[in-house]
Structure formats: structure tokens, C-alpha cells
């Protein structure tokens, strides 16, 4: 299923809430947690990561991955946490509103 415009940022921020990790892992987790419903096109993942970084919501640092290879780890910043809270809230209001409409006959 294709992601709705603008939701990728939210998903990335949410995934990073669990702790710092690298790009490949973020894509994997989104896929697993959504039970294969949401697949992040890798082509849009990295631009999104760099965009979030440029906005100051996440920062990156180089670290060692599982089998000791160099990988770039992303971590939420304080501003990112606030942004995540704000986006989560507005997403819930949005889906709640859509739900209300769908429930009417």
C-alpha cells in the first residue's frame, strides 16, 4: 500500500521513538509492525531522513551495526519529540474525523 502524503515523516519519527537506529532498520520495522501493509519505498526514505535532519528533528551519527559494519544511526532530538507529539495528535484528529464520516450512512 502506498503511503499517504506526509505520513512517512510521522512513521519515521515514531519508529525512532524506540531508540536510535539506521535507515534499513527503520524500513524493516515499519514493514514488520504494519504486518507488511506499509512498505516504505527506499527511494523516499533517505530523502525523508535528510529532510527531517535538516529540520533539526533528528540527528545522525556514525556507529557500528549488528555485525560491526559502519552504519549511520538516526536519533530523535527534543524538537523531534515535540514534533512527533504534534503530528500524532493531528493525525489522530484527522483519522477520527474520517472515521466519523465513514460511520454515517
Amino acid at each position: 500500500m502506498d503511503l499517504l502524503q506526509g505520513t512517512l515523516d510521522l512513521l519515521v519519527l515514531k519508529t525512532l521513538q524506540a531508540g536510535p537506529t539506521h535507515g534499513w532498520d527503520i524500513a524493516q520495522r515499519i514493514q514488520q509492525v504494519s504486518r507488511d501493509v506499509l512498505r516504505v519505498g527506499q527511494g523516499s526514505l533517505y530523502p525523508a531522513l535528510h529532510r527531517l535532519e535538516a529540520q533539526g528533528w533528528i540527528i545522525s551519527e556514525w556507529g557500528a551495526s549488528d555485525n560491526n559494519r559502519r552504519a549511520k544511526f538516526y536519533r530523535l532530538t527534543a524538537a523531534g519529540r515535540k514534533q512527533l507529539a504534534a503530528e500524532t495528535e493531528s493525525w489522530q484528529r484527522f483519522t477520527g474525523a474520517v472515521e466519523l464520516i465513514l460511520k454515517t450512512n
Partner: protein
């Protein structure tokens, strides 16, 4: 947000590192993906391929990541610049032609602008110059002063006469009464000073300044100190301040100069300091008085207008006055405050005028009005001399730059046609048109910047040539043209503007491409014949170069006319120089005896055939002029009655070779004891005596003494003020009968000039070792100097006109060659169908000629409309001189024909079979 900025800046400045990290990050992702695929049981190759497929284009991801980081504009600009530089390097021929063309255009503009900057724009280098105001006055009536030294000009808007100088009491009154000005100070130029330093005598220029002059201007000394109010007291020790220029040329920047004593007109003065280099020493832009002395020292060394007893009289107007506005005060408030006092002082001076000085029509006078204007750029007189000629020069160089732009635009157009394929491919691959235009413009601006850089160097070199220009014949402009930030800004702006000007149209037309036909390389499809834009460029170039060439033609004819004008005397082998013994204290008869002694010695110098002297040199626009009256005749009108009095030695006409037409010449017996006599020129004879013979008649220079002087002879008219003027009325007076204010010796020479000059200096030293010989010039040099402006105009318009012609013919040739190349197929077809070589030749030439004729017609019309603005600079030729117009038109037509003939012949030589197979 701060981390965000850091990320962006890092992306901009550590580009390579950021790119490497991006690569590594994506590679890591691919490897993880591949591992996962392997774990699912794929073969290694399959695993990697699948990973790549699911990832999508690596480069696209990179590109998008870069976008996100911002600063894309800068990155693209950098890319464009590098790409542009590569494109320019690939076509060295095109690039060097374009850069050179631009360098000439921009260099000429920069050099002229540096002069404009210096003369018209630059403010005086003093503290807060915008607060300075210049005081002067204007009147529509008769003058109310007894004597004045300074300048009188006409106010352009009103026609009222404007005078520059005030009496010393008026200045003191301004200074004591004003509440609106924080400082009031005065200065006055001094005539030539005899300066003797360490036993060597020479002539220097100088000015008197009031004690408040330097403090008021806020000028700090470069060495020592400047003059203060304490120096400007009658009891003070006489001191002087040097200009930087004089300090350098005369004292070699010696810092120990302070405290030295020099002798000025025989008076010892102590040097107390030097003014800084940026401050020219005086207030007139372009002139630089060598020495500045306090006003109080004036009477001691200057017996003239500032003489002891008359310097402080209210009828003697000789100081120029500047003031510094208090904050928030307007110039108008100053005028309102000071005008009453000024008029009162003027009236008192008029009433106190000694009877001997009263003019014949002495009576009540209209009072002059005070004027208060911005003094921030120094005095305006020099500016007025330069302003109009400079404007003409700016227009000329501007036109040259326009032609240069048109030419490069044309070159770019043809090149854009050659690059159409490349551009079509890039458009097809998804480049936006705006992006392509931006890239093409970057290329043309890069070209313009290269041209400007070279032009800057050219201007640097050419500006010293410009300084030798003397537009008013007043002597060389003393200024150093600085290539300051203003000139740099001008050049940069010109470069940017020209880059966009010549780049925009070609870029627009290059990117307006129909993709399919071009990509299919169907040459007949997208390529038309000449674009309308290219054609109009050629027409404009022809028109503008015609305009410049007509101007050049008119100026060259003017120069030629002036050089071959009949001067009325023989200027060849005539050496002129001045000696002034008066500042050394020689008086009355002593002076005359000294002059006679010198003439005798000069005549004995080997290589000197004869020697004489007169008060003024000819062709220097200087002299003693006033109304003359004839006994028993009604006075002539004011416009007619002015006569130059040339006081000269008895052998003057022989040495100058001015032929005597009637009566007798002077003899040595016409001395101070003999009756007063004069020899007059033809013009004066005609104006004052009409058809009657003037010999034996009498005239005078005062209305009540019309019988004072007897006319003993008439000589032929000789040019007096300069080569371009009608000879004025001149009365020659034997010099022992009237004392000379100054003396110019004239030697008719036959030998080596250098040796003669050395011998002359030796002869003067033998008479008095402290007398300097100065203003050594030949009469031919003087005549040439008087033609400085004409020569410069002729030279510049000539050079630039030829340059324009060259550019225009290159442009025409290029356009026609391109048209022929484009139509090779069509021409081949025509020839296959039976057209003769002659027909093809005629057709191609016809097309080029058509464009040329349109250009010539437009150019002629523009020239007819514009040349009248230069009428006042022409001589002996009308601003619409038909031969010049016809000759230039014909010249352009011939050159255009040649420029078209070469491509036309190539067209006519086309082999029909090759041309048809060419598809």
C-alpha cells in the same frame, strides 16, 4: 533549527565529505537488502539485482537527498559556472574574440567613468563634506565692486551673472555674525610664486587661506601641522603648508621638511606641515596649489590685488568663502541670515570707492543677491568645463559597448543554433526551460566578467592617457584617478548588465525549440533563414557605427581645419618662456632695463636668430582686455568696443612675422618719453575706423581720454585667443610706454632647441641667479595644447568609430555566412533547377545590402538628429556636413558589400549535387 543550519552549511562547504557519507549510507542499505535476499535463498547475483530494483535509481535518491539539504541554487550555479567555463575553453576562438571585444568596450567605459568619478562625483576629502556650503553672489545689474579677482560666470537658468569672490570685510562679517554656520573660512588663489629652496629658484602655485580653513574643513596634516587661526595674525611668523603633490615632487617626501625655511617672492617662510595625499590642497577639483599661506602673509609677498593697503577694503573683492552648516540648518536659512549684511557691506564699499577708481558711470547700483550652494564637491568651475565633453564621451563609449554587445549576441545566436541539438536533448530529458536559460545566462555573464577583468586592466593603463587631456586649455588636470569602489561597482554593474543584455535574447531563442524535428536532425524543419532578431542586430550595428563614424568624420575635419587655419603669424621655430622679476623686488624702470639686457643676451645665443618680448603669449586665451574709445566718434556698443592691449617690444612684428599693412612699425625711439603710439590690427581698424585710414588717428582706453594714443600703423590680423576664434580687435603698444604685468619672451630659433633652452637658462642666471625661467614651450606646442579637446575628440571617436565599423562588419559577415550555410540545400536546389552563379551571388549580396541600407538610413537619421549637440565643438564644418555624411555612408556600404561578398561567393560555388546529397 540550529542543527538544521549546521547540516545545510556542512552540505555547502564540505561537499565531498557529505557526498561520501551519502554513498556509504546507501551502500550499507543495499548490502542489508542483499543479505536479506540471500537469506531468502536467492543466488548472490539475483540477490543484489533484486535489492537494486527494489531500491529504485540510486542517483535519483542521491539527487533528492541533495535537494533536501538546500543550497541547491548555489550548487547549480557552481555547476553552471564550471560547465560554462568548459564550454568557453572548448571554443577558444569564439571566447577570445568575445572577451577582447568586451574588454575594449568595458575598458573604455571604465576609464571614462573614472574621470567622471573624479571630476563630477567625488566629494572633497574632508570631514563631513555634505555639511559644506559655498557662498557666492549673483546680479542682473552693474557690478558694485571697485575691483575683483575670481571668476564671473553666467547662471544657466536665469542668465544672471554669478561672482565667486567677496571683500575681506564681508567675509569677516559672515564669520562674526553667523548663527547658522559652525565655521566660516576663506581662501584665494595666488599668482605664480617665485620659490627658492636651497639656492635653486623655481615657480610654484599657491593660495592664501584664512586661519579657520583647515580646522573648518577638518583636514589633518600628513606631516607636521596645518595652519591655525594663530598663524593668521599680522604679528605671526610667516609660515607655509605644502601640498602632498609638491612635497613629493620637490622634497622627495622628506619628513624633515618641517621647520625648513624657503624663500617665497623673496620673503623667508617656515614650512610647518604637509596636507594629506587625498586632499588636493585646494578646493578646486583637479588643481593643486603647491603652497598654502595664511591670509595675513599675503600683503608681504603679493603686491597685487591683495596688496597691503587694499586687501581689507570693502570695494576690493578677492576672497572665496565656504561655511559648514550647523546640524539641521538649511542653505536657505544661511542665505536669509547673511544676505542683508553682505548687501550692506557691498554698498559701503561702493560708497567708499576712491574717486580715481570710479568708473565713468559711477552712480547708485542694484545690490547683488547672496547664493548659498552645496560645497561638498569643491568648486564647480572645473566641473563645468568638463561636464559636457564628458557626457559626450560617455555616450560615445556607451555606444561602442552597445555594438560590442550586439556583436556578441550575434555570435551567441549562431552558436546557439549549433548547440540546438544539445539543448533539445536536455529539454527532452526533462530539463526545465528556465533552468537552461539560467545556465546560458551564466555562461554569458561569465564571458562578460572575463571581459570586464581585462577591461579593468585596459582602463588602468588608459586612465593616465586621459589625464593628459586638457579640455579647457587651462593646463593639465592634476588629479590621480583612483580605481576606487565606485569605479569597481560601475564596472561590475556594466559587466552584469552586458552579460544579461547580450545573453538573454540568444538564450530565449535557443531554448524555444520544437523537439521532434530537431532530434530527427531534419535541417529544413526547425532552422529558418535568418532570425528576425539577428537581422535587427546587424541593422542596429550598422546604424550605430555610422553614427560614431559621422562624429569621427566631423571631429577629424574640425581638427584638420584648425591645424591648417591661417594664424596670421609664423608659429614655426618659435620658443616662448616667461621670466618674472617683480616678485624679487624689481620695480618700474629697473624691470625694463632688465628685459632689454636679457633680450640682448638672448640674441647672442647661438641658434637664436632674433628675440623679442610681449606681455602675453598668443593662442593662450590670456590677455589684457577693455573698452577703447576714438576721439570724435560715438562709442561703439559694449559688444564691439573691447580691445586686447598687447604690450610688446618694438621688434615684435619682425620676430613674429606679422606683416605691416599701412603706416610704420615701432622703433626703439617709441619709449616712455616719446608720444604714445599704437599699431592696430585689421579688425580693430575696421571696427573703429570703418573705411577711413586709421593711420594718424587717435584713440584711448578711457572715455575721457579718446585722444591719448596715436595710431601709427596697421598690421595683418593674427589669431589671438586660440586657433578657433575670430581674431579680436588688438592694439599693440610699445612696452616702455606702458609697464608690463608679466613678460613672455619669444625667440625665433634656427638650431637645436634643447641647446637653446640651456643657453637661455644660463643667460638668465648670469643676469640674476635667483630668477627662474618657466613656462618654456614652443609656439607650436601651445597651438597644439589649445587643440587638446579637439584632438581628443577626433582621436577617440575615430578609434571607436573604426572599432565599431570592424565589429559591425564582423557581425554582418557572420550573419551572412550563417544564412548561406543554412540555405546550402536550397541554393543547391535552385542551381540544379538552372539558377546561374551570378543570380545566386546577387541574391545573397542583395539580402546583405538590404540590411546595410536600412542600417545606413537609420544611422544617418540618428546622426542628423544628434550631431547638432556637438555643433559648439566643430570648426569650419557644419554639423550636417554633406560630404562627411555621404563619405561615411559610402564607406559603410562598401565595407558591408565586402563583408557579404565572401559568403555570397561561397554560396555561388556550391556544387548542386553535394548540396542535395547533404541531407
Amino acid at each position: 533549527m540550529l542543527t538544521g543550519l549546521r547540516v545545510r552549511l556542512r552540505a555547502l562547504f564540505r561537499k565531498a565529505e557529505v557526498e561520501r557519507e551519502l554513498d556509504e549510507e546507501l551502500r550499507f542499505h543495499l548490502e542489508k537488502e542483499t543479505e536479506q535476499n540471500l537469506a531468502r535463498g536467492m543466488s548472490p547475483e539475483e540477490a543484489r539485482r533484486a535489492a537494486l530494483v527494489s531500491f529504485g535509481g540510486v542517483e535519483r535518491v542521491k539527487e533528492e537527498s541533495r535537494d533536501v539539504r538546500g543550497f541547491r541554487l548555489f550548487e547549480e550555479l557552481w555547476q553552471d559556472l564550471r560547465f560554462g567555463a568548459r564550454m568557453l575553453l572548448k571554443k577558444p576562438g569564439f571566447t577570445s574574440v568575445a572577451v577582447l571585444t568586451l574588454a575594449l568596450g568595458i575598458g573604455a567605459n571604465t576609464a571614462i567613468f573614472s574621470l567622471v568619478n573624479e571630476v563630477l562625483l567625488k566629494m572633497l576629502s574632508v570631514r563631513q563634506p555634505e555639511q559644506l556650503v559655498l557662498l557666492d553672489w549673483r546680479t542682473g545689474g552693474q557690478f558694485i565692486f571697485g575691483s575683483m579677482s575670481g571668476s564671473i560666470t553666467q547662471e544657466p537658468e536665469t542668465g544672471l551673472r554669478v561672482g565667486s569672490s567677496f571683500s575681506y570685510p564681508a567675509f569677516e562679517q559672515f564669520r562674526s555674525r553667523t548663527q547658522t554656520l559652525s565655521d566660516v573660512f576663506a581662501f584665494a588663489p595666488l599668482s605664480q610664486l617665485n620659490v627658492s629652496v636651497g639656492g635653486q629658484a623655481e615657480v610654484a602655485s599657491g593660495q592664501l587661506v584664512s586661519g579657520g580653513f583647515y580646522p573648518g574643513l577638518g583636514v589633518q596634516p600628513a606631516v607636521g601641522r596645518v595652519l591655525t587661526p594663530d598663524d593668521d595674525r599680522d604679528s605671526a611668523d610667516p609660515v607655509a603648508v605644502l601640498s602632498y603633490h609638491y612635497w613629493r615632487s620637490r622634497f622627495g617626501l622628506d619628513p624633515d621638511v618641517v621647520g625648513k625655511t624657503i624663500s617665497v617672492n623673496g620673503v623667508p617662510l617656515t614650512i610647518v606641515g604637509v596636507t594629506p595625499a587625498q586632499f588636493y590642497g585646494g578646493l578646486e577639483v583637479g588643481s593643486s596649489p603647491d603652497l598654502s599661506l595664511p591670509v595675513a602673509a599675503g600683503p608681504r609677498l603679493n603686491p597685487g590685488a591683495t596688496g597691503r593697503s587694499e586687501a581689507k577694503e570693502a570695494w576690493n573683492w578677492w576672497v572665496q568663502v565656504l561655511g559648514r552648516l550647523k546640524p539641521g540648518v538649511s542653505a536657505e536659512a544661511v542665505r536669509a541670515e547673511l544676505e542683508g549684511g553682505f548687501q550692506q557691506s557691498a554698498l559701503e564699499g561702493w560708497q567708499a570707492l576712491p574717486p580715481a577708481r570710479r568708473p565713468p558711470d559711477y552712480g547708485p547700483r542694484e545690490l547683488p543677491e547672496l547664493r548659498v550652494s552645496s560645497g561638498s564637491r569643491g568648486l564647480a568651475y572645473l566641473r563645468e568645463d568638463y561636464e559636457h565633453p564628458l557626457r559626450i564621451m560617455l555616450i560615445v563609449v556607451g555606444l561602442v559597448l552597445l555594438i560590442a554587445c550586439a556583436n556578441i549576441a550575434n555570435l551567441l545566436l549562431t552558436r546557439a543554433a549549433a548547440r540546438r541539438q544539445e539543448i533539445a536533448v536536455r529539454l527532452a530529458l526533462g530539463a526545465s526551460r528556465l533552468r537552461l536559460i539560467r545556465q546560458l545566462l551564466t555562461e554569458s555573464v561569465l564571458l562578460a566578467v572575463l571581459g570586464a577583468a581585462l577591461g579593468w586592466l585596459l582602463a588602468w593603463w588608459a586612465k593616465d592617457l586621459l589625464l593628459m587631456w586638457r579640455p579647457s586649455g587651462r593646463g593639465q588636470l592634476q588629479a590621480h584617478l583612483e580605481m576606487d569602489w565606485r569605479v569597481f561597482g560601475f564596472t561590475a554593474a556594466v559587466a552584469l548588465l552586458t552579460g544579461i543584455l547580450f545573453g538573454l535574447a540568444p538564450a530565449l531563442s535557443a531554448t524555444r525549440v520544437e523537439l521532434t524535428p530537431v532530434l530527427k536532425e531534419n535541417s529544413r524543419g526547425a532552422r529558418g533563414s535568418l532570425s528576425r532578431f539577428g537581422k535587427s542586430l546587424v541593422v542596429a550595428q550598422v546604424a550605430v557605427s555610422l553614427l560614431l563614424l559621422v562624429g569621427a568624420g566631423l571631429f577629424i575635419r574640425t581638427l584638420h581645419n584648425l591645424q591648417s587655419v591661417e594664424l596670421g603669424f609664423n608659429p614655426e621655430n618659435l620658443l616662448l618662456f616667461r621670466v618674472d622679476p617683480r616678485p624679487k623686488g624689481y620695480k618700474g624702470e629697473e624691470v625694463n632695463r632688465l628685459y632689454e639686457q636679457m633680450v640682448e643676451r638672448f640674441e647672442a645665443v647661438p641658434g637664436v636668430r632674433s628675440a623679442t618680448l610681449s606681455e602675453y603669449a598668443l593662442l593662450t586665451s590670456s590677455g589684457r582686455r577693455g573698452p577703447a574709445y576714438v576721439e570724435g566718434r560715438a562709442p561703439l556698443s559694449r559688444a564691439e568696443n573691447n580691445v586686447y592691449q598687447q604690450r610688446a617690444r618694438w621688434n615684435y612684428f619682425d620676430v613674429m612675422q606679422i606683416p605691416l599693412l599701412a603706416g610704420r612699425s615701432f622703433t626703439p625711439q617709441d619709449d616712455g618719453r616719446a608720444p604714445k603710439v599704437a599699431v592696430i590690427n585689421q579688425t580693430m581698424a575696421r571696427k573703429f575706423f570703418g573705411e577711413e585710414s586709421p593711420v594718424g588717428r587717435r584713440f584711448g582706453f578711457k572715455q575721457d581720454k579718446g585722444g591719448e594714443i596715436e595710431v601709427v600703423g596697421v598690421v595683418r590680423d593674427a589669431k589671438y585667443e586660440g586657433p578657433r576664434d575670430e581674431p579680436p580687435s588688438v592694439a599693440y603698444i610699445p612696452y616702455p610706454q606702458e609697464s608690463l604685468g608679466q613678460a613672455t619672451f619669444a625667440l625665433r630659433t634656427a638650431g637645436d632647441l634643447g641647446q637653446v633652452v640651456e643657453a637661455v637658462r644660463g643667460a638668465v642666471r648670469e643676469v640674476d641667479k635667483d630668477l627662474p625661467v618657466f613656462s618654456v614651450k614652443t609656439q607650436v606646442e601651445l597651438a597644439d595644447e589649445a587643440l587638446g579637446r579637439e584632438r581628443l575628440f577626433a582621436w577617440l571617436t575615430g578609434v571607436f568609430g573604426l572599432l565599431a565599423l570592424l565589429l559591425a562588419s564582423i557581425g554582418l559577415y557572420g550573419v551572412m555566412s550563417y544564412a548561406v550555410a543554412e540555405r546550402t540545400h536550397e541554393i543547391g536546389l535552385r542551381m540544379a533547377l538552372g539558377a546561374s552563379q551570378g543570380q545566386i551571388l546577387r541574391q545573397v549580396i542583395g539580402q546583405g545590402t538590404f540590411l546595410t541600407i536600412i542600417g545606413i538610413v537609420i544611422g544617418l537619421a540618428a546622426a542628423l538628429a544628434l550631431t547638432r549637440f556637438i555643433t559648439s565643438y566643430l570648426f569650419g564644418v557644419s554639423a550636417m556636413d554633406p560630404p562627411t555624411f555621404l563619405a561615411i555612408g559610402a564607406l559603410l556600404a562598401v565595407i558591408a558589400l565586402v563583408a557579404c561578398y565572401l559568403p555570397a561567393r561561397r554560396a555561388a560555388k556550391v556544387d548542386p549535387m553535394t548540396a542535395l546529397r547533404y541531407e
